[in-house]
Amino acid sequence: MTTARFVPGTFTPAPGRGRRGRMLATHARVETALTLRHGEQILLTLLIPLALLLGLSLLDVLPAGEFAGMERVDWITPRILALAVLSSAFTGQAIALGFDRRYGVLKRLSATALPRWLLVAGRLVAALVVVALQVLVLGGVAALLGWSPSAAGIAFGVVLLALGTLCFGALGVLLGGALKAEAVLALANIVWFVLLLAGGILMVPSALPDAYATVVALLPSGALAEGLHAALVDGTFSAGACAVLAVWTAVAAAIATRTTKLT
């Protein structure tokens, strides 16, 4: 047997766990790159919100009563940002997780020294990076269309976007970690569609019947859209919206830690 290829001592054991910061950064970077490389993810997270932003800002399709005298783009942009969070942190995340489990990715990674909490943390950091990129692109296009957000509310908006990402990210992990990949794919898309149309993103609670409006305001989609509207249009901080998002995050995370399966 030739041994030239492997010098003795090459594989002498030297086991140990990598540095946490490096593991987290590498994992988050790979997750982000995979999302940005994936055509369907780009369609879902960027192109559809972009098309809605352009269409609803430029075309006269929404009832004028919604705007109460403000520019269409000022009204629509916070809602498109809410949609962007829903699309990437929830729907995209859930589908990716469902198929990653199917392809043995979670099993592969959990067989390394990567701690379990880091497995989730890497995905959430990646979700925050993707949302930041979405906000830059969508916000930039909205600015070109004349969007002028309330300067006082921008910091509140950033807080809400981050909280919304964690909330929908936790819900995405909950869904993507529990069911078969095909079921995740179907459900994640249905939920996206229902929340977009009836969950307070495009339809404002105040335009809905009272009882239904209360329900919508308590949904994470309704809370995020209304909270972003309050921040970016009125420049006010909506503690109610933050509370709703925080409760959904806590509940989803608590259930997901019990139900998430590796395969």
Binding site: F6, V105, K107, A111
Partner: protein
Amino acid sequence: MNAAAVEITGLVKRFGSVTAVDGLDLKMPRGEILALLGPNGAGKTTTVEICEGFRAPDAGTVRVLGLDPARDGAALRPRVGVMPQGGGAYPGVRAEEMLRLVAACAADPLDPAWLLDVLGLGSTRRTPFKRLSGGQQQRLSLACALIGRPELVFLDEPTAGMDPQARRLVWELLGALRTDGVSVLLTTHLMEEAESLADDVVIVDDGAVVAQGSPSALTAEHAEDAQLRFRARPGLDTRLLAAALPEGYVVRESTPGSYRVIGHVDPQVVSTVTSWCAQQGVLAEELHVGRRDLEEVFLELTGRELRT
């Protein structure tokens, strides 16, 4: 203080009404290559997955490097390399990206670029996992198992789907691991793999160990019966040949065109076989009388019928 690489006592694992592992015992010293052989469904993968901490046993104790994989997983995982059956990677991830991710989880990893090169993956560094061939995916998976310089590696069918060149390369690599003191537990269907690599072979059937020992000890145990092997056209009626031989001889076509006559082989038996072949108008090629190999022992112990 240096606990065994793997020590399993009375392991039981059930899935619903099916008992996948049924009282399995196994002890694997450090620094050796142990091959777990068994038919499909024998419980090999379940046993390995329990050792890796992916499944909890229903009964029995499992110690890996002296630790309980179900309880001490966090302490154990950095010390163990795992190659799951069928790999495991993001479909869109590039080969080098995946290996570097796994390398980042280790304190003192091997150089990923070097490892890709020696495994013949140097030209596929930027190729998405889903576009790698089956054998390339297997080699990447093996690289992921080794990159962290583990003390012990679990390889579930490491050469499945590999071409003969790649298989030789992996065998050479496993030899280098042993030289460097890494313990290797592998499952395989390839008798040649087990026979040429393993220090110890454990044959598993129906979730329990049916034989254990070095390849030479296992074949010697059954050495009283020699066998005669020959090749001819496929589909000869082995019952007719058996009828031509004295009582007690068994004739089998182990793979199409490859025949085995099992029993005490004397000159008369050889003569009977060749003259029977002559009557059939076929030439018996590669006629060989010898001791049984591991495959024959394996088939003897686990039955010859294809299981469904």
